[in-house]
Amino acid sequence: MGQLNVNGNPREFEAEPDTPLLWVLREQLGLTGTKYGCGIAQCGACTVHVDGVATRSCVRPVSTLSGSEKIVTIEGLSKDASHPVQRAWDELDVPQCGFCQSGMIMAAVALLKTKPKPTDADIDAAMTNICRCGTYNRVRAAIHLAAGQLQRKQIAITIQTEGGAA
């Protein structure tokens, strides 16, 4: 029996010590918002916060954690999707299939904590999560929006009809 502090609550679980945190969250604690994508820390779908640091939970053995670290998953980011990053994501309609987005959002929140006004290069360096649908440009725009660096109209699309461009 092990103990973790997840989303502000002490939680108990039973798993072998080398079990990755990801599978304890998903299979023992029922927190399925954190996703399995690769199992080798390549894709970032499993990103959670451990003491505020973006952490790829698929390669983090649960034995390296105790009840003392504060773990936050996508479910614990806010009660009602009201975190500024979630709101920016909503505003720009970022997700497509959505499977990678929990990890994207968690990585973005951690980035903004250390760099409240990130540059594009900061975003490139921090956001190494994989999205196969290709939401990268909207993820980038949403991070800038959450940081107060982007107006909604800046990512408008062009719609041309017979009557001309709208």
Partner: protein
Amino acid sequence: MNSRRHFLKASVGAAGGLMIGFHIPALADTPAGNPELNAWVLIQPDETVVIRIARSEMGQGTLTGLAQLVAEELGCDWARVRTEYPTPGQNLARNRVWGSFSTGGSRGIRESNDYVRKGGAAARMMLVAAAAAQWQCAAADCAVSKGEVLHQATGRRLSYGKLADAAARLPAPTDITLKDPREWTLAGKPMKRLDTRGKLDGSQIYGMDLTMPGMLNAAIRACPVFGGKVKSFDATKVAAMPGVKKVLQVDESSVAVVADTWWRAKTALDALDIVWDEGPNAKLSSADVAATLKAGLDADDAVAFNTQGDARAGLAGAVRKIEAVYACPHQNHATMEVMNATARWTPERCEVWTPTQNGEASLATVIETSGLPAAQCEVYKLHLGGGFGRRGAAQDWIAQAVNIAKQMPGTPVKLIWSREEDMQHGRYHPVTQCKMQAGIDANGKVTALHMRISGQSIVAGLFPQNIKNGLDPVVFQGLNPGGAEGAFGYAVPNLLIDHAMRNPPVPPGFWRGVNLNQNAIYLECFIDEVAHALKRDPLALRRELLANSPKPLAVLNAVAEKGGWGKPAPKGHYRGLAQIMGFGSYVAACAEVSVDRKTGELRVHKITAATDPGHAVNPQQIAAQVEGSFAYGLSAALFGQCTLKDGRIEQSNFGDYPVMKMEHMPQVEAIVMPSGGFWGGVGEPTIAVAAPAVLNAVFAATGKRIRELPLRLHSLKA
């Protein structure tokens, strides 16, 4: 039905998960007594409008687009709309009232727009008739607005929720007139998606996230060599490992471990010794496949598909000949969510919960594999963590899940593939090569073109019974002699496009964009080569060859103008163009790149892309598909290849199958330019212009013509 819904909800609570937003989309959620106006529309007393969606949502936005089309005709309040999936079993039981469930080929909206709009219109007519009956007036004196029927003369109003019960008792109208798309107020607008919320807070349940009481988890390994089989395995070593419930052979080529958790199942599977009979392909390599395809480039057994004039004579008589050979490798779909399905089998009933692009094909697989009559089988569709064609025609993972469940009667078992299994057992983007030959006359005109494709046929791999006289028409996507799907736009008097079918034993599949992707690379890079050989501007040559093709010309001109073609680029930046017609739409792209000739590093800075899909149901979602198409198309063009060694795919995960990330992603400017009068798809066509536009820009930057993909095989150093 209700009991099952409660069963699922209870199980999530028991597992300690969040209840918020948990919703398994199925008719199971429809409370008894709520009036169904027709198969597509159900209106609840609280004014909630339930719109049924037969096609699968996998990120492409079809759920929102189809709902817009129904709601447009229905005249309901968009804020009250929610959607649900009917089940494949219900579709079967109701004589396929929802039509096809197949979600591929960018057909979701273009194939079903007519009958879903009629569903919305018929429901509106019934609501109006019910109001008119109550007011004892003519239906023609009533109008609808945002979920209310209005009697224009008296100002009386009745809400849809209050009318639905009476309306549902009326006969379905037969004479239905649809709105002219020019009068749309909801469809055709850049609306936000309906399914975003659950993707922001982790509450969206994907197939992999499902839990049920008593559910076990399975990890699987199939013989890594294509065509190989299980010879033997020694279960004794792993049977006592933590949580392991059963070690079993799934079918002739795969073995699974079933345990209480998936992690324990996978851990035990990794420790399991399996001896394979690797079969006849055990020595096959990519070099073998390439040699077979190369021979096909000059073989006599090719099947012609698009013929104008006499290309061979035209080439023989040409003043100048230009020739080039191109090659595209196998690609894996690499959906973010790996293959998975949860199955429960008893001697009386078999049920499967799964992300699928074709619920009906899933049900057929369940029926066939379970050995039970159709009426005793059911499939529940869950949101897909990506599809891209992998979860459509081939339903291999579902057969596996049922085969496992059959060996554990009564126990729900969730099968999840590892990423490694997913990488090695894909249904791969087919491998093809192409020899391009152009004949030029004394005036510098292109008078002959022979395009010889050699390689794999998806149809031969998936539906061999559909191959007639060696012809797979899918191979010629975008190269058709005409028609609404993908016509070859260039006017060349002597044209021959033919295919020598060569099928290596690697299972092929429909991969987002399908053969249009390779064909656009061959055609659009070669046209660029011809332009440069003739010292012509690539835009000018295309315009000349498209002179009689106004729609392709319009998208090409749009990207040329907005992309700055012919104007000075930022220092060190170079541009490339591509256009094609596919999946019923016209697309073009102008890419802008730079190459550091010291390091060979390529940067794709910006892409301007234009799409004419005829009718644009949701321009914002079209733009999202266009943006995403460059991530998918350029992942393949720059990085992706699945290679064969010893009969197996060498790549295992994103480490050795790299894909585009944020740092590689160009700016994308999407121009949505619906010209009206037809319905084209948007999920796929733009993928095809991604690679050739960038490769042509790379040539402009470096003088290097990349003809063998992916680009990372080549150095761009000076």
